[in-house]
């Protein structure tokens, strides 16, 4: 029940954020995430951060998260403690890339939630 609740919360968070998700993309995040991990949904094998790489293919093409769902327009807030803050905004292949506040990742990527766990993992 707890995992189901977390999945619902993650889905709600993403869809409730204005303009975050493309309207024609799947809303069952758990099944989609499991399919990606199982390889039944192809995300490619290019492990890099480019637009065509696996990272962005999963988040944008498969999950349908818009750029604005993760990236802000500009730099990090002045008091945001992030070692690489000075990099942003930056230009990659001519496109302006705004900062990403990592708190946006917690909803899906905490242990027990829909996506691969990176946060809140216990021994």
């Amino acid at each position: 029940m707890n995992k189901l609740l977390m999945a619902i919360m993650a889905t709600t968070f993403l869809s409730a954020s204005a303009g975050v998700m493309a309207e024609d993309k799947p809303m069952n995040l758990r099944k989609t995430a499991e399919a990606i991990r199982a390889g039944t949904v192809k995300a490619g094998k290019d492990y890099n951060l480019g637009d065509e790489g696996r990272y962005h293919q999963i988040h944008t093409e498969i999950l349908g998260i818009k750029c604005s769902g993760c990236h802000t327009e500009d730099a990090y807030p002045n008091d945001y403690l992030y070692l690489r803050r000075a990099e942003f905004p930056k230009r990659v292949a001519g496109e302006k890339v705004g900062a990403v506040e990592r708190a946006k990742c917690i909803g899906c990527h905490s242990a027990g939630n829909v996506a691969t766990a990176f946060y809140n993992m216990k021994k």
């Binding site: 492990y47 890099n48 951060l49 790489g53 990272y55 002045n78 008091d79 403690l81 992030y82 070692l83 690489r84 803050r85 000075a86 990403v100 990592r102 708190a103 990742c105 917690i106 990527h109 905490s110 242990a111 691969t116 766990a117 990176f118 946060y119 809140n120 993992m121 216990k122 021994k123």
Partner: protein, 228 residues
Amino acid sequence: MAKFVRVIDTARCFGCRSCVAACAVENHFTPESPWNVMIEYETGRYPHVARNFVTMNCMHCEHPSCKAACDAAGFKAISKNEFGVVLVDYDKCTGCGYCATTCPYGVPQLNGAKVEQLYPGTEKTAYEQMGNLSPLHRKKANTVEKCTFCWHKLEKAVAAGRVNEIGKTPDFTPTCDLVCPVQARVFGDIDDPNSAVSVYIAKKKATQIKKEFGTEPQVYYVLNGGDH
């Protein structure tokens, strides 16, 4: 077994950046891939304003999200040793950047297509000096770099059976922690209740930042005006 942590007292730090410079020299700074950064910002409203200085380096988390991401991607280039130090194996790292995207603290630095040295033309690059350097300093292009808690110094203490001197003897202490002119940085064994770090954390109520991510960083901060 000892577990090494660092305490940074932002109430004492005045932003001189000696620690930043020391790290750059000790670890053969790769331009645009700093291992230690000073973040400076203003709080309050005129005329009641204050300047805050917060240095950041790798947090060497108990549950590192960078390692989780690297393992999930299948490269397993990031490890956490028995003393809590998180290290990158440059030979296994493919520069995919997944660790850089997952780290809540923005620590891992992708170093680009060419590893430049700090003073071009005056000395060989770290890569060129491979035979003389610690493997942690044999930097490769298109990999991730980050603070190592100066493991190349700490491992010498471990090898010599002098673990109890880590954080005390200069040869066995991270260089950034040695140079602070106001003693705003302390390094040592948190498993020793009488160590300088344990006493500092208790007496000054040092805390970890960004606890919501649950990575349990091994760098504690005495915060100057509230939790972040």
